[in-house]
């Protein structure tokens, strides 16, 4: 081996090292943003960092995390779901009415709605439709159905759901355990199983998958059905916390869920998503939007802006890191 080739080999190793560092930093970004928000809260109000404080602050984090995971499945297939918020609202209305009064019909309606999601996936694939327009139309459909199911705010969550969401495990608050569980289950399913790879591949390189003999129709149906499933879970969790429903209860979730996926390191194209990151992103948004602002004495008017600002800051940080990657 000549000296020159050793030298170039060394330089290659150094380059690789730098690249790996940048990639790791990028992967840690979602966790870092959450830690920063937590530190800010701890500094502003140390008493919030307690079992009770976390249970209270993360109260709504579970439904947000579930809706974010739902959106993540859609984004993994290079599509976008602008109807997830009103879908969560619709599920909430069904949960607070049918699921309590006639559980069997309630379950059938919810299963049917997951079926509708699967059909949408098939429709979008077969007719080659822009998902953003289809789901924008569907957002009206879900909202209309929600109003038909529950014309006035009200209803009541089933008792078993109430007691589940009020569960108080020892030492660690329930929302944190739930978040860990959601992240672990979805991470295993999407990142560690072979069909999970196929699902992500359908967003990464659809043509290659098709050549290899995988059905793109099926991957799209599965991704949308999973989005519907987690949308249902999100709506049920939400009603378990709020105890009653309202047709507009989920409207804010559409944009929140997209923001959560992107914050968590997901990318819009290429099937690059991260379930753990998505849950972390959802927690960050849940904490930053209301508890942090309250502790900073910023009026709630700026809640939405805080979400936008966090999104922009994290994306800017990502650009800075990517620049080092090169």
């Amino acid at each position: 081996m000549t000296a020159a080739s050793v030298e170039s080999g060394l330089r290659g190793a150094a380059e690789r090292d730098k690249l790996a560092r940048a990639r790791m930093l990028r992967g840690l970004l979602p966790a870092l943003s959450l830690v920063l928000v937590l530190l800010a809260i701890a500094w502003l109000n140390p008493r919030a960092i307690s079992y009770f404080g976390f249970s209270l602050m993360l109260n709504l984090a579970i439904p947000i995390a579930l809706a974010t995971i739902a959106q993540m499945f859609v984004i993994a297939g290079n599509e976008l779901d602008l109807s997830i918020g009103t879908f969560v609202g619709f599920v909430g209305c069904v949960t607070a009415t049918w699921l309590k009064d006639a559980p069997l019909i309630g379950v059938l309606i919810l299963l049917g709605s997951i079926g509708v999601y699967a059909l949408l996936g098939a429709l979008i694939h077969l007719r080659n439709l822009p998902s953003i327009v289809v789901t924008l139309g569907m957002s009206f459909v879900w909202q209309g159905l929600a109003i038909l199911v529950l014309p006035k705010p009200g209803g009541k969550a089933p008792d078993w759901l109430l007691s589940l969401m009020a569960f108080k495990p020892p030492l660690i608050p329930f929302p944190i355990i739930a978040a860990l569980l959601i992240a672990a289950v979805v991470h295993f399913g999407l990142m560690r199983t072979s069909y999970g790879v196929i699902l992500r591949g359908s967003g990464g390189n659809a043509a290659a998958l098709e050549r290899a003999g995988w059905s793109l129709l099926r991957t799209k149906i599965v991704l949308f059905a999973l989005a519907g499933l987690f949308g249902v879970l999100s709506g049920m969790a939400l009603i378990g916390i709020t105890t009653s429903a309202d047709a507009n209860i989920g409207n804010g979730y559409t944009l929140l869920a997209i923001a959560g996926v992107i914050l968590g390191g997901g990318e819009f194209v290429g099937g690059r998503v991260s379930p753990i990151g998505a849950v972390l992103g959802a927690l960050t948004l849940a904490l930053a939007a209301s508890p942090l602002l309250t502790f900073m004495h910023i009026p709630p008017d700026w809640q939405v802006a805080a979400n936008g600002a966090i999104l922009i800051i994290v994306l800017a940080a990502r650009v800075l890191i990517s620049r080092r990657e090169r």
């Binding site: 290079n78 599509e79 976008l80 429709l123 007719r127 080659n128 439709l129 822009p130 998902s131 953003i132 327009v133 289809v134 924008l136 139309g137 569907m138 957002s139 009206f140 459909v141 879900w142 909202q143 209309g144 159905l145 929600a146 109003i147 038909l148 014309p151 944009l255 997209i258 923001a259 992107i262 819009f268 194209v269 009026p299 008017d301 700026w302 809640q303 939405v304 802006a305 805080a306 979400n307 936008g308 600002a309 999104l311 922009i312 994306l315 800017a316 650009v319």
Partner: protein, 315 residues
């Protein structure tokens, strides 16, 4: 006969046929009563959708992934700015309109700044921007109960022989937009970028500048729309622009513009806007509940896009 076949081949004709069918269905239901008034009302309301629809059309034509999600927030903020600057004073109408335009242009420019500086998809950029604009609007427009100047309110409702003057002006504007699109360097550049951004760049199109201009144009039209809406509905409101997110995208798609970019259609925006407005009027005339109205609107939009189908993709 040949000319009829030529007409049917135009992608925009279907939206007008749809609008006509909906109108006929409604007057059949009312027994011919109120048909003319319905057209007047439809024209007045369609104007607001057409204005933002044209902005959205230019953005979507830039190619996959280009869409302006900040329009509703933009409209809301501009309506508040216009009402505050006009302050109910007839002498300030022009200044107020300019302020709303400037506000919208600033938002459009900020959108492109985010897209360019952070290298993020326009959907995310305009989404984050709309979060911030929404908050500014809530904070700025809190308790704002300024009525538009009487002259301005009258102007937005002014009709000649049952035809709203605003609709006539908007027709003139859309003809201008069509000429800009098909006959001017700016419009041809937008189409070229939408067809193949790399080829356009290699052919010497200043891609960055054209995209910047397009987002600024969309923002400006959103701002103008906000001011006009506040005049027409007698006051600004945080939620005044909410329905224009779906409406602006829907009229572009239904009107025959390709969601894959590179192919735009101005007359279709008018047809689709009239179709949507008349559809709502029809459902109201039939006396259906709010839930059914939303449900049917959604189903019809999904149905129309499925029937039109066939091209990819808005991302």
């Amino acid at each position: 006969m040949a000319s009829l076949r030529l007409l049917l081949a135009k992608p925009w004709i279907w939206s007008f046929i749809g609008a006509l069918l909906v109108w006929l269905a409604t007057i059949a239901f009312t027994g011919g009563y109120g048909g003319g008034g319905m057209i007047t009302a439809a024209l007045s309301l369609a104007v607001f959708t057409v204005i933002v629809g044209v902005g959205q059309m230019f953005v979507i034509t830039l190619g996959p992934g280009n869409v302006d999600l900040s329009l509703p927030a933009n409209i809301g903020l501009a309506s508040a700015v216009a009402m505050k600057v006009m302050d109910g004073n007839d002498a300030m109408i022009a200044v107020g309109l300019l302020a709303a335009l400037a506000c919208g242009m600033a938002i459009g420019a900020a959108n492109y700044l985010l897209i360019w500086a952070l290298r993020i998809p326009p959907i995310i950029a305009t989404l984050s921007a709309s979060f911030i604009i929404q908050s500014i609007d809530i904070s700025y427009g809190r308790g704002l109960q300024i009525k538009p100047p009487p002259g301005f309110a009258d102007f937005t409702n002014w009709q000649i022989l049952g035809i709203p003057v605003l609709a006539i002006l908007t027709v003139v504007f859309t003809i201008g937009a069509a000429i800009a699109l098909q006959r001017m360097i700016y419009g041809r550049s937008v189409l070229a970028i939408g067809q193949n951004i790399r080829a356009a760049w290699l052919a010497g199109v200043n891609v960055g500048r054209i995209r910047f201009l397009t987002y600024t144009l969309s923002g400006a039209l959103g701002g103008l729309d906000g001011a006009l809406l506040a005049g027409y509905f007698r006051g600004a409101n945080v939620d005044i622009g909410n329905e224009y997110l779906l409406a602006s995208i829907a009229v572009v798609v239904i009107g025959g513009t390709s969601v894959a970019g590179g192919k735009a259609n101005v007359p279709g925006v008018w047809g689709a806007a009239l179709f949507l407005v008349l559809l709502l009027t029809m459902l109201n005339t039939f006396g259906v509940s709010a839930g059914v109205r939303l449900l049917l609107t959604g189903l019809i939009i999904v149905g129309v896009i499925t029937a039109a189908g066939g091209q990819k993709a808005l991302r």
